[in-house]
């Protein structure tokens, strides 16, 4: 393929960020690696287009988010509801509250559209315009989702614990 070295270099550089972004979106690590791999295969297939994209990372994150949504949709079909709660003892929650766990729980409580916007803005560092393109939504919608997501995170109890009990 034309530009294969170019692609390989890009893939190697972006791999950790893609996997970590998928984790932040809500995947387990193994699933996140599968998702990042699928994303890179699709980038390879459309590399001439990706290479010409106005903002390459925005284009690639769009693929990642689409793959993530597809995987959630498939998982939703595969999951069966149950009225039996697994009998699993809960450990001492206060012992688990370190920064990362608190952030993970707070992110998990955000709805998918808010979480996608937060991850693309504050981890992938895309601009609001680029997020709008990646998620196929209006820039104003990005702005309002980010604003509401930050408000939810600010009032999140786990994150408040990190700040000594007072929401930031």
């Amino acid at each position: 393929m034309d530009g294969e070295p170019d692609f390989s270099e890009y893939a190697a550089a972006r791999w950790p960020a893609l996997v970590r972004s998928a984790v932040l979106l809500g995947c387990a690590v193994a699933e996140a690696e599968d998702l990042a791999q699928t994303t890179l295969v699709r980038c390879y297939q459309a590399w001439s287009k990706v290479r010409r994209a106005h903002h390459r990372d925005a284009y690639v994150y769009r693929i990642l988010v689409n793959c993530y949504r597809d995987s959630r949709r498939r998982r939703w079909w595969a999951e069966k509801p149950t009225d039996r709660v697994p009998d699993r003892p809960e450990g001492d929650r206060t012992a688990q509250v370190d920064t990362a766990d608190a952030v993970a729980r707070a992110l998990a409580r955000l709805s998918a559209p808010y979480r996608e916007a937060v991850v693309l803005r504050y981890y992938a560092q895309l601009s609001e315009q680029q997020i709008a393109e990646a998620l196929h939504i209006a820039p104003g919608t990005v702005k309002s989702r980010l604003s509401r997501a930050l408000a939810k995170l600010s009032s999140d109890a786990d994150l408040a614990d990190l700040n000594g009990g007072s929401p930031s």
Binding site: S8, A12, R20, E33, V41, Y44, A46, S48, Y123
Partner: protein
């Protein structure tokens, strides 16, 4: 919480994730395999077209002409992919479908097909009562950014076409007054392309939808109607350039069309081209003289 705090928190969580090395070999192997599938399709198509040209002197049709079964190529013959024998490609984005050569384009009345036809970029449909003639097949191409609202999509099956995720509805047949019609639809999310085939013959529906291909090497001339059902040249130019096509504009008296409206697009909407190819757009200057004979040859024929 402000932007910096949010960035800091997410990076602290992300840094805790241990990531293995990039599986570059697997990625490249899977990517090459997917690409070779595309290439095999293209090579077979070229071979078939060459054989046809040698045997019967039949060229590959590259432009749509409303109501006419064949048209001379209006772009260099290397621009468009070769279609399977006896068919021509019509598409949306990078998705293309092989349509029988004998089919017209927008052969409809009040939105109902009057002969075997492709329906694309049709524009406003006048309201009137028309009975669909029996034994007529049609293929509708529409841009659909979201899952189509067609109820059949509630039972659609997720599939992949050339690696792209797609949804295909079950094939359903109904008896409407004197005619028996079967319908099936296919939506390719990434290309926002919706193909709906309807025919009295189950085999025709299956054949049409099984011919769909997605290939980044080619792109369809986009539709001319904007969301407000106006045929503005500016919106069309943006859409075509976003797909990697070049646009050449010519301004002429529009025969009553407002200034900036499209009189004609050549090659026609849906024609598959290579990125970088030029689409010629004739635009009205708002003056009243007729737009001239022949200008409608490659523009979609209005319904009605």
């Amino acid at each position: 919480m402000n932007d910096d705090e949010a960035t800091n928190l997410l990076h602290r969580l992300a840094d805790r994730v241990e990531v293995g090395p990039v599986p570059l070999r697997d990625v490249l192997r899977a990517g090459r395999r997917a690409r070779s599938r595309h290439r095999r399709t293209a090579v077979l198509g070229v071979a078939a077209a060459v054989a046809l040209a040698l045997l019967g002197g039949v060229g590959v049709r590259q432009a749509l002409r409303p109501g006419r079964p064949a048209a001379p190529a209006t772009v260099p013959s290397t621009s468009a992919p070769a279609a399977p024998p006896g068919t021509r490609w019509v598409g949306i984005g990078h998705a293309a479908i092989a349509v029988p050569e004998g089919w017209g384009t927008n052969q409809t009345r009040c939105g109902q097909p009057r002969a075997n036809t492709v329906v694309i970029d049709q524009g406003p449909i006048p309201l009137c009562a028309v009975i669909t003639p029996p034994a007529v097949s049609d293929l509708q191409l529409e841009a659909s950014p979201d899952v189509p609202t067609n109820p059949s999509f509630a039972d659609a099956v997720p599939i992949r076409i050339d690696g792209e995720p797609a949804l295909k509805t079950p094939l359903r047949c109904t008896n409407q007054s004197s005619s028996h019609l079967c319908t099936q639809a296919l939506w390719i999310k990434q290309e926002r392309a919706l193909f709906t085939a309807t025919s009295p013959h189950v085999g025709t529906v299956r054949r049409l939808l099984s011919s769909v291909r997605v290939d980044d090497a080619y792109v369809a001339v986009p539709g001319t109607y904007a969301a407000d059902l106006q045929r503005g040249a500016r919106a069309f130019t943006h859409a075509a350039e976003a797909l990697g096509l070049r646009v050449s504009r010519r301004v002429v008296p529009g025969g009553g069309l407002p200034a900036g409206f499209i009189v004609r697009v050549d090659p026609a909407v849906g024609t598959m081209l290579k990125p970088g190819d030029t689409v010629h757009v004739t635009v009205s200057n708002g003056q009243g003289a007729p737009s001239g004979s022949g200008t409608a040859t490659s523009s979609p024929q209005p319904s009605g």
